[in-house]
């Protein structure tokens, strides 16, 4: 069964990893010319500006002229990508069989529902790990391929972890949504809607000064790029991710086991 699941998810994994590769390999093309041009320390002077001004400048407290700042900007897009992917995985794990009307066949097999869900979720988990590893690998390759000077191994590692954690969180969330609602396709709609909402809040979080209370609702900013770039990895937020993930998975199991198989 795990094999079957691996096969089902293979194509979309290849697609998303290609997207990842394009972002990283394509993104670094520009950095070459940037780093060669004479670097001006505008950032320090601009530190006094309000966040919203910086955002309109397209800067967001990061120095695009340094490798780490540039990398952090690219990784922000990778985060969006991994979350879309994770929601898709969550949907595939819980609801795909239902949409294809094949769940009845699966459930008549002599396997417990827990085991079914466990297997399916672990396949998604596996793909997420694979995805974040490829993130690290592609980053290394891109930097090596363009012969960019500078060491950011630690940052690459941090970002791979952050990509994984965000993916995991939304994976669990999407699985939960699909398991809880009656019509499974609604589940993924809700999961995507919630993601769009958090993304919007992330944008607001970036624009408005002093809205610390918002931080709890924006997983994308649990680890702020500025902290990561300066090597300040706040491990406490990992617990936050794990706690939320566990809650979602528990609810998901609970709902999945009790689900009624009636045709919709």
């Amino acid at each position: 069964m795990i094999k079957q699941e691996l096969k089902n998810n293979r194509n979309s994994f290849i697609g998303f990893t290609l997207g990842l590769g394009c972002i990283l390999m394509g993104g670094f093309v520009k950095f070459l010319s940037l780093s060669q041009s004479e670097s001006i320390d505008i950032l320090e002077m601009m530190a006094a500006f309000p966040k919203v001004v910086l955002a309109v400048f397209g800067m967001n407290q990061l120095d695009v002229q340094t490798l780490s700042g540039y990398y952090a900007i690219l990784e922000n897009y990778v985060l969006v990508l991994v979350i879309i992917y994770a929601i898709k995985l969550g949907y595939n794990a819980v609801a795909r069989e239902l949409a294809d009307h094949t769940e009845e066949f699966l459930f008549t097999k002599p396997i417990k529902r827990q085991t079914i869900l466990l297997n399916k979720l672990s396949v998604g988990f596996f793909f997420l790990i694979l995805f974040s590893i490829s993130n690290g690998v592609f980053s290394k390759i891109a930097i090596a391929a363009y012969g960019i000077e500078g060491q950011i191994n630690q940052l690459i590692f941090y970002y791979s972890v952050v990509v994984f954690l965000n993916g995991l969180l939304f994976f669990a969330f999407s699985a939960m949504c699909c398991a809880v609602v009656k019509r499974s396709e609604k589940g993924s709609t809700i999961a995507y809607a919630v993601f769009m909402l958090t993304y919007l809040m992330t944008v607001m979080y970036d624009l408005i000064e002093k809205v610390n209370i918002l931080k709890f609702f924006v997983p994308l900013r649990y680890f702020e790029s500025i902290d990561l770039v300066s090597g300040n990895f706040k491990s406490l937020w990992i617990l936050m991710f794990i706690a939320e993930t566990i809650i979602f998975v528990t609810i998901c199991f609970h709902a999945f086991i009790q689900r009624d198989l009636s045709e919709n």
Partner: protein
């Protein structure tokens, strides 16, 4: 006419939800954020005046447009644009794909109406939804611009600025259609909608980051980039051509798909 009415009714909820979301987000940007942005102008100017003038030239900064209402609109457009795109994809996938998703294509196709006509009617339904949205959107912006500046008069720049979402939506309408008519299964709507729109967003952002003009033709969200309108008062010609080609291709291909594909029940 029956089909047209049916499709419109089918789209009504999506249409309303998206219209409200987009307008609310625009209000947040233009009514809630813009004043505080404007307030910081003095402080920022004080710092910028200390910069060497060459440096200012090199980062290509026009302070007046930067702090203007339209400048901020161009900034907010990044987000409004994605949402408008998402709305268009969602409307078109829902119109052209819902029979496929509910496995009831065969019922529709056995009705005494040719597929060509069906396609045209469905197309008319989505287009009217999009036109309605844009009338509301342009009206809201007209109000916002006049509210901000009582002297404001409609000029070509304003028309280009508020026309950008409409043209972008046409491109994404095509993308949604080609998706809906090309794939065999549609399991859910949300996945493809979000993937197409955010995929386009990521491509556009990366293309803008690496500043390669030649790549602009693959960045669908910057085809009608308001920043360019604010700076130069016109759309980028090559982008407009790319947008037209892409849209016409998608619509043509969808037409062929829709009228000729065999219906396979799986």
């Amino acid at each position: 006419m029956n089909v047209y009415r049916f499709e419109l009714k089918h789209l009504l909820r999506t249409f309303l939800i998206w219209t409200v979301i987009i307008l609310v987000v625009e209000m947040i940007f233009m009514v809630a954020l813009f004043p505080s942005f404007k307030e910081s102008e003095g402080a920022v100017m004080a710092v910028l005046n200390n910069f060497p003038s060459q440096l200012l030239k090199s980062i290509n900064l026009e302070i007046e447009t930067f702090f203007s209402f339209k400048g901020f609109y161009a900034f907010a457009y990044i987000y409004i644009g994605i949402m408008a795109a998402m709305m268009a994809v969602s409307l078109s996938i829902k119109t052209f794909g819902h029979e496929k998703k509910d496995h009831c294509q065969d019922f529709l196709m056995t009705k005494p109406i040719t597929r060509e006509n069906l396609f045209k009617v469905k197309m008319a339904a989505v287009l009217s939804a999009i036109v309605c949205f844009n009338i509301v959107f342009i009206g809201a912006n007209l109000w916002l611009f006049t509210y901000n500046d009582a002297q404001f008069r409609i000029n070509s720049e304003f028309i280009l600025l508020v026309g950008a979402p409409f043209l972008t939506q046409l491109v994404f309408l095509g993308l949604g259609m080609i998706y809906a008519t090309q794939v065999h299964h549609i399991r859910n709507y949300a996945g493809p909608i979000v993937s197409i729109a955010l995929g386009a967003y990521i491509i556009t952002a990366v293309v803008q980051l690496i500043e390669k003009d030649s790549l602009k033709i693959i960045a669908p969200l910057s085809y009608f980039d308001p920043n360019r309108i604010v700076a130069q008062g016109a759309y980028d010609n090559s982008s407009v051509v790319a947008a037209c080609v892409l849209t016409l291709f998608c619509m043509g291909k969808s037409y062929i798909n829709y009228t000729q594909t065999e219906i396979i029940e799986t």
